[in-house]
Structure formats: structure tokens, C-alpha cells
Amino acid sequence: MTRALALIPLLIALVFGGFFLWGLDPDRDPNDIPSVLISQPAPEFNLLEVDGLATPSFSQADLVGNPGPVIVNVFASWCVPCRAEHAVLTQLVEREGQRLFGINYKDKPEDAVRWLTELGNPYEMIGADSTGRAGIEWGISGVPETFIVGSDGTVLYRYVGPVVGDDAVKKFREALDQAGAMEIEAGG
């Protein structure tokens, strides 16, 4: 065995050590991770409609085969930032004709109905995730979260937190445009 060969394990270990030292920086939060669902098919879920609401519920099947990308928004009446985000989403639907699906996360039906009556209902379909099971399937870390799903049912983008403020809206719209452009390219 030559000396150079015998040195390789040590060199590799040193490189690893460097990365570890960097990784111990206390400002780093390894839990802040983007969705593993990106480029994956939307997860399976099974939701009932919100009691007392005429809007139908939806399942994974409704996200497949749409003419263009659709938005899936996780919201709750108890979530204050959702209120701010609601206006942005309404605008996307009413002015730009985007299609919006809602997952009503761990909410009481009567509260959800009151909230939507008060603010208006931009959602095409709403599923009531009273147990939070669908939230787990979607891998959400909190409310609100918003996903863009392509016409083939693939999750293309995830936004954590409210899509509120110029930067956030700009980022989200870009992701939406990109998703639309991709579909056209793909001939869809």
C-alpha cells in the first residue's frame, strides 16, 4: 500500500469535518426545509366538504388533468395572516382567472363558514381537514401554506407563510407564470 493511498481516508475525513464545523453554526436551522413534494405528484388525501357550505370538496383526482396550473391554499379561520392573504388570493382569482382550491385546516365548520361569508369565497372547492391528516400528507409546517399544482397533478411550488407583500406576491406570481409557461411548452 502506498503512502498516498493511505492518506486518502484522512483527507476525506478532514473535508467532512469542515462541513460539520460549518453545520454547527447556531444560526442555522436544519428544520427549515422546502417541501419534498416538489416535482412529485400531489399526495393522496380524502376530505369531506365543510359543513354548511355549498362549495364542494375535492381530492387528489381533482388536481389532475386541469387545463393549467392550479393553486392549493391551506387556510383556517383562526389564522390571522390568512385574513391578509385572502385579499391577494381573491385578486389572483378574480383579476387573473387563476383557479384556487382550499384546504380548511383544523377548523370548526361554523367558524369557516362565517369567515368565508364575511370575506368572500374565492375557492372553487374546499375540503375540511378537521383531523390535520391531509396537512400531514401535504407536509405543511403551519398555516397558511400555498402550493402550485401542474395540470398533470405534480406539485411545482410551495410557499410557506402568507403570500402578502410585494416581494412575496412577486415571487408567487413568477412561480405561477413559470408553471403556466412550462405547461404550454409541454404542449398542455
Binding site: 492518506l7 481516508p9 460539520f20 442555522r28 436544519p30 422546502p34 369531506l48 370548526k108 383531523t131 391528516r133
Partner: protein
């Protein structure tokens, strides 16, 4: 008072370890026999004091002494006794104390049972072992003291994480640690050999039982952990490629490679540097596991309370131990003379392929586990996570050729083998495996080609392993009585190999069946709802509130009917632990050899829903999943049989020019 005794005992253990880390190795350098032999007493002393510390903490948990912070954070007076005991190693501090206890037990075991090991090698090994002790005991005393008190003491504790309150998991850490830490002694042997500048067949034979003991505990520990995840987490599935699972799997893969390369060193005096390197890397990967789990470096479902300061301390330990040993390796390994020569077709070559594939597999798991960290560092903070698709795509293509070679390897003889001859013997095995796979395909239909290919290889391995045994005893070639006599005279290590290799084949059936042919339904149910899955008709009858010692649970009742006949009732639970304020799912499983019907329910969101409303039922059918546990048990038993082989107990190997023929090689492999 007892916690203080424990704390003090830990400090005394440190003092012992410091003495042991200096005196014996100096004695070995100077040829002072008394200094060398001092290791015996200091290693026993270390065990004595770490045991006192461990039992002091155990006592605090058993008596629910809520003046001790660790007990407050991890126990509760209402907890069942078994889990009070298990709580001792449920926390970061407690588990570290167990770690240190096992570390010192292994050191003492070498000094007591290693009567046949030369004094100088033993002294150096025990000094290296004591260096590790010093590192970890100071780590405990300075950053993670399990005996810290609280004042004023609270009325009751905060309870152990309810997920961890499980029999399987109570046993999982101790076994895993015996495995992890057991490799420390192999590491110490390797470093001592590098210092001596001498590795030979005798060295490999002294190291072998320790490697085997560590390996079989690690196998049992991983299997138990996987079993726990399977029935406790309620996700279905037994392996998730989670970072913490991966860090226990890497030493196992490396340790398996070590186990095989050490055979070559023992029998043929070859692969010396490589065996030493594997011994160092196996324990390094165990240390890496400790580091990753406790530093918060990666995100995982398992993480202990994390603390960057602790992380920095362990990183320092890693730098000294891994960096130091690898530097020593780079310096000393080139001077070790190469050993036995062999042809490209021989048992050595077969084991070389085994080693290369296992090392590659370890590299893949290591890379996949740490890739998120590398990526984040190199892209300036962008995150990603690496999931099962990567591991399955990269790992399985490495494992399948390994299984193929495993079928052939034992038929090859040392030095130069007759491959056509071996393949001729295996012709029948290959035909049988293909026919059996076609039969399975005919019955099952559907499923990916890779699934059938894996089944083909599993059958191949199983039958080839049996065939190899029949060849050894010359079954049907000689009168039956003669075969029986041969079977009785085979060394236990041979049976160990046969059992372990067959065990892997059996476990493979489980891996394949339960991942490729699994079916799953997630549905909303109301009393009376019916679900069809894998030929079973499951009816949800209703929900009942039941009470446990420290939890309340919603228990669902399911009636399972197959072909119009009643099969069983299942009672999955959704538990709530008021003290820890957390929920767990308790899945209900109907287990048969053909497969498990697995049900878990998710708690209704509100009280009204619980009173007859809807709730989520997750129901899975996992074919052949029990083969995994049976196969794992066979691996462990095989390791145990090999460990009990008489060549490891009697006939102290002597160093020297003469090449001894071992018992095992008296039976020609042909």
C-alpha cells in the same frame, strides 16, 4: 444523596480512565510488565464506578426522585415501572451514561477474557479504549451531567415522550449501544496494532469475537428499532431512510464488511491494511452517529434535545479520535507487509467483491444522509432533503449483485478456485430459483420487474446457501450416516455463516413483499363503514373510550371478514397522554406469515366527532413483512453460533512464523 454519589463515581471513573490511558501504553513501550498489567485493575475500576453512576441514576428514576432534573424531564410517577427504568436511557444524558457504561464493560471484558492476548497488545488496546472513556466521561461531566438537581423540586415529572413508552423501544437503545460501542474495542485493537506496527492472523483471530459480538447486537438493535417503528409509529413501513436510521445502518454495513475482511486476514494473512481501515471506519461511523443525533446537525424524527455547544464538543472528540486514527493509519499502514497472494477467482476475491460492494453501499448511505448539509453549505443556505427514492435507486442496485455473489462465494476455495466447477454445482440452484420465481409470477401477476428480480436473487441465495451446506456434508454422495457425522463435525462458525446468509435471504422476502406488494387505503369511516383491502372485508364497528395507566385512548373496533368467514377483530387506538400533552397512535395488527393486516386510526378533531362522527382509518396490507423479523433473528443467531465456535474459545492462537491451520479450513471448501 445517591445522585451525588453517582456524580462522584463518574469523576472517579474519569480518574481511573486517565491513569489507564497513560500507564499501560507507556509500560508496553518500555517493557514494564507491571505497568502493562495495571490496565486490568483500572479497567475493572472503571466499570465499578460507571456502574455505580448508572445505578444511582436508575435508582433516581425508579423511585421517581423529582429533585433530579433529568428525572423531572423524562419521567412521571404514574408511569409503568418498565418505562421508569427505560427512562434512565431515554434522555441525552442518561443514554450517554449507558454509552460510557458499555464502553467500560467492553474494556474490562477484554482484560478479563483476553488471557490469550499478548501483554503488550492488550495494554495498548486498553489504553486506547481508555482514551475514548476520557473523551466521553469529560463530555458528560462538562456538558451533560445527568445528576443535576432542581430546586424547588416539582410535584411530578414531565413524562417520557409517549412514543418511547414501548417494550421494543425500551430494549432498542441498549442493544444498539452494545453494537455501536462494541466496535470501540475493535477500533482500539486496530489503533494498538498500528502503534505496534504489526497485524497478522493471530491479531485477526483475537479481534474476531469482539467484532461478532458488536455486530450481532447492532443487528438486533436495528431490527428492534425497525420493528418498533413498524407497529408504534402507525405509518406502516419499517424503514424510512431517516438520518438517524441511516447512522445506525452505516456502522452495520461497514461492520459486516469488517467481519468478512477479518476472515481473510485470519485465514490468509491478507487484506491487512484494509481490515485495519474498516475497523477504524466502523467505529468512526458509530461516533458520527452519536454526533449527528446529538448535535442537531440534521433534522430527524429521532433527535434528542440538541445543543450546538455539545455538538462542538463531540466534533472535537471526533476530530481527535477519527482524525488521529486515520493519521496514524496514513503513517503506519504503508509499512505493513502485504500477505497471502491470491488469484482473481478465489474466495479472497469473492470477499473482496463483498467488501467493495458493502463499502460502496455505506458510501451511498453516508452521502445521501449528509448531502443536504453539503448542499446547504455549498449553495449558501439552500435546502433540500434526500428521501427514500434516492436511497432505493442507489442502494438496491448495489445490494442485488452482492446477493448474487453471496450465493457463489462460499463455493470458492482459498487462493485459487475453480469457477466453472462452482457454477456447475450451482446450475441446479439457478434453475430452481428461476422456476420458483416464474411460479410466483404466475400466482401473483403484476408488480415491477425489479421486484421479481429481487425475489429471484433471494431464492438463489437461500437455495445456494443450503446447497453449500449439503456439499460440505456430502449429502447423497456418501452414506447418510457419514453425512450425519460430517454435519455434526462442522464447526459452529460454518453453521453461523449458513444461518446468517439464509437469514438475509429470508429477510429479503420480507423487504420485497412488504415494499413492492403493499396495499394501502386511507378512508373516512363512520360506524358501519366497510372497506375492501387485499381480499379482506373490514367493517368499522365503532369507537370506545378506554383508560390506561397514564393515558386515555379512543379505541376503534374493526371486524375483519375474508371469503365470508370471520377472521378477527382489530382494536387500533389513538392515545392521549395528558401529562406529556401528546398523542400517539397504537396500530392494531393481524399478523400471519402471509402478511400483516395493519390498521391505525387518527383521533377525531373534536368531542362531537368522537361520539359517532367520522374519523380517519388507515389500513394496510403488508405481505411477508414477518419474514423481516425472522430473517433478522436468523442473522443474530448465526452471529451467536459463530461467536460460540470453539476456535475462538480454546487453542490460544500463537504468534509466529508457523502458519496454523484453523479448524474451519480442515473441511475443504472444494
Amino acid at each position: 444523596m445517591t445522585p451525588e454519589i453517582g456524580h462522584f463515581a463518574l469523576a472517579l471513573a474519569l480518574a481511573m480512565a486517565i491513569v489507564q490511558s497513560v500507564l499501560p501504553i507507556l509500560g508496553a513501550a518500555r517493557g514494564n510488565i507491571l505497568w502493562m498489567q495495571s490496565a486490568k485493575w483500572s479497567s475493572l475500576g472503571q466499570v465499578f464506578f460507571t456502574s455505580i453512576a448508572f445505578f444511582a441514576l436508575l435508582q433516581a428514576f425508579v423511585t421517581s426522585d423529582f429533585t433530579v432534573k433529568n428525572v423531572v424531564e423524562n419521567s412521571h410517577s404514574l408511569k409503568p415501572m418498565l418505562f421508569k427504568i427505560a427512562g434512565t436511557w431515554g434522555s441525552h444524558e442518561g443514554s450517554l451514561l449507558l454509552w460510557v457504561l458499555i464502553l467500560t464493560v467492553f474494556g474490562a471484558a477484554v482484560s478479563v477474557f483476553g488471557a490469550n492476548i499478548p501483554d503488550s497488545l492488550k495494554a495498548r488496546t486498553l489504553s486506547v479504549q481508555a482514551w475514548i472513556s476520557v473523551g466521553f466521561i469529560t463530555f458528560m461531566l462538562f456538558t451533560s451531567n445527568p445528576f443535576d438537581r432542581v430546586f424547588p423540586p416539582p410535584i411530578d415529572g414531565q413524562d417520557l415522550n409517549p412514543l418511547l413508552q414501548d417494550v421494543g423501544l425500551a430494549m432498542h437503545p441498549p442493544l444498539l449501544y452494545i453494537g455501536y460501542v462494541g466496535f470501540s474495542i475493535v477500533f482500539s485493537f486496530a489503533v494498538a496494532a498500528l502503534i505496534e506496527g504489526r497485524v497478522d492472523a493471530a491479531w485477526a483471530r483475537w479481534v474476531r469475537p469482539w467484532t461478532l459480538a458488536a455486530w450481532l447486537s447492532l443487528t438486533a438493535g436495528i431490527a428492534l428499532g425497525s420493528w418498533w417503528a413498524y407497529y408504534e409509529l402507525g405509518w406502516g413501513g419499517w424503514w424510512f431512510w431517516d438520518p438517524v436510521e441511516n447512522v445506525s445502518f452505516m456502522p452495520w454495513l461497514m461492520g459486516t464488511a469488517l467481519l468478512h475482511s477479518a476472515i481473510v486476514t485470519e485465514k490468509r494473512d491478507a487484506f491487512k491494511s484494509w481490515t485495519i481501515l474498516l475497523a477504524i471506519l466502523t467505529f468512526s461511523l458509530s461516533l458520527l452517529g452519536t454526533f449527528i443525533v446529538r448535535s442537531g446537525l440534521l433534522t430527524s424524527v429521532h433527535a434528542f434535545a440538541v445543543d450546538p455547544e455539545r455538538g462542538l464538543y463531540i466534533l472535537g472528540l471526533l476530530a481527535v479520535s477519527i482524525g488521529g486514527s486515520l493519521a496514524l493509519f496514513a503513517w503506519r499502514a504503508p509499512v505493513m507487509e502485504p500477505g497471502g497472494i491470491f488469484k482473481p477467482i478465489s474466495r479472497e476475491a469473492g470477499l473482496l467483491i463483498n467488501n467493495l460492494l458493502l463499502a460502496t453501499a455505506t458510501g451511498i448511505v453516508l452521502f445521501g444522509t449528509l448531502y443536504p448539509l453539503f448542499y446547504e453549505a455549498l449553495t449558501g443556505g439552500q435546502k433540500l432533503s434526500v428521501g427514500p427514492p434516492f436511497f432505493n435507486a442507489a442502494f438496491i442496485p448495489i445490494m442485488l449483485p452482492l446477493v448474487f455473489v453471496m450465493g457463489i462465494g462460499p463455493f470458492l476455495s482459498w487462493k485459487r478456485a475453480d469457477l466453472p466447477g462452482a457454477l456447475q454445482r450451482l446450475r441446479f440452484v439457478a434453475v430452481l430459483a428461476v422456476l420458483a420465481t416464474l411460479a410466483i409470477w404466475y400466482i401473483v401477476r403484476g408488480g415491477p420487474v425489479l421486484g421479481y428480480l429481487s425475489i429471484l436473487l433471494a431464492i438463489w441465495l437461500f437455495v445456494a446457501t443450503l446447497k453449500e451446506w449439503t456439499v460440505r456434508i456430502k449429502l447423497f454422495d456418501v452414506p447418510f450416516a457419514e453425512s450425519r457425522r460430517r454435519a455434526a463435525n462442522l464447526p459452529r462458525s460454518t453453521y453461523g455463516m449458513t444461518l446468517a446468509h439464509a437469514g438475509l435471504a429470508v429477510a429479503m422476502f420480507g423487504f420485497i413483499g412488504s415494499s413492492v406488494w403493499k396495499t394501502e387505503e386511507i378512508v373516512f369511516v363512520k360506524p358501519g363503514s366497510e372497506i375492501e383491502i387485499a381480499g379482506f372485508n373490514v367493517t368499522f364497528e365503532g369507537l370506545e373510550r378506554v383508560r390506561g395507566p397514564n393515558y386515555v385512548a379512543d379505541q376503534g373496533r374493526l371486524t375483519v371478514i375474508q371469503d365470508g368467514e370471520f377472521v378477527t377483530e382489530l382494536f387500533p387506538e389513538s392515545r392521549y397522554y395528558p401529562v406529556a400533552e401528546s398523542n400517539t397512535t397504537e396500530s392494531a395488527i393481524r399478523s400471519t406469515m402471509a402478511g400483516d393486516l395493519y390498521a391505525s386510526i387518527a383521533r377525531p378533531a373534536s368531542e362531537e366527532a368522537g361520539a359517532g362522527g367520522t374519523l380517519t382509518l388507515r389500513i394496510l396490507y403488508e405481505p411477508l413483512v414477518n419474514f423481516i423479523w425472522i430473517g433478522s433473528a436468523m442473522l443474530v443467531l448465526g452471529g451467536g453460533l459463530s461467536l460460540s465456535d470453539r476456535r475462538l474459545r480454546v487453542g490460544a492462537p500463537r504468534r509466529g512464523s508457523e502458519k496454523k491451520i484453523s479448524n474451519a479450513s480442515k473441511v475443504p471448501a472444494e
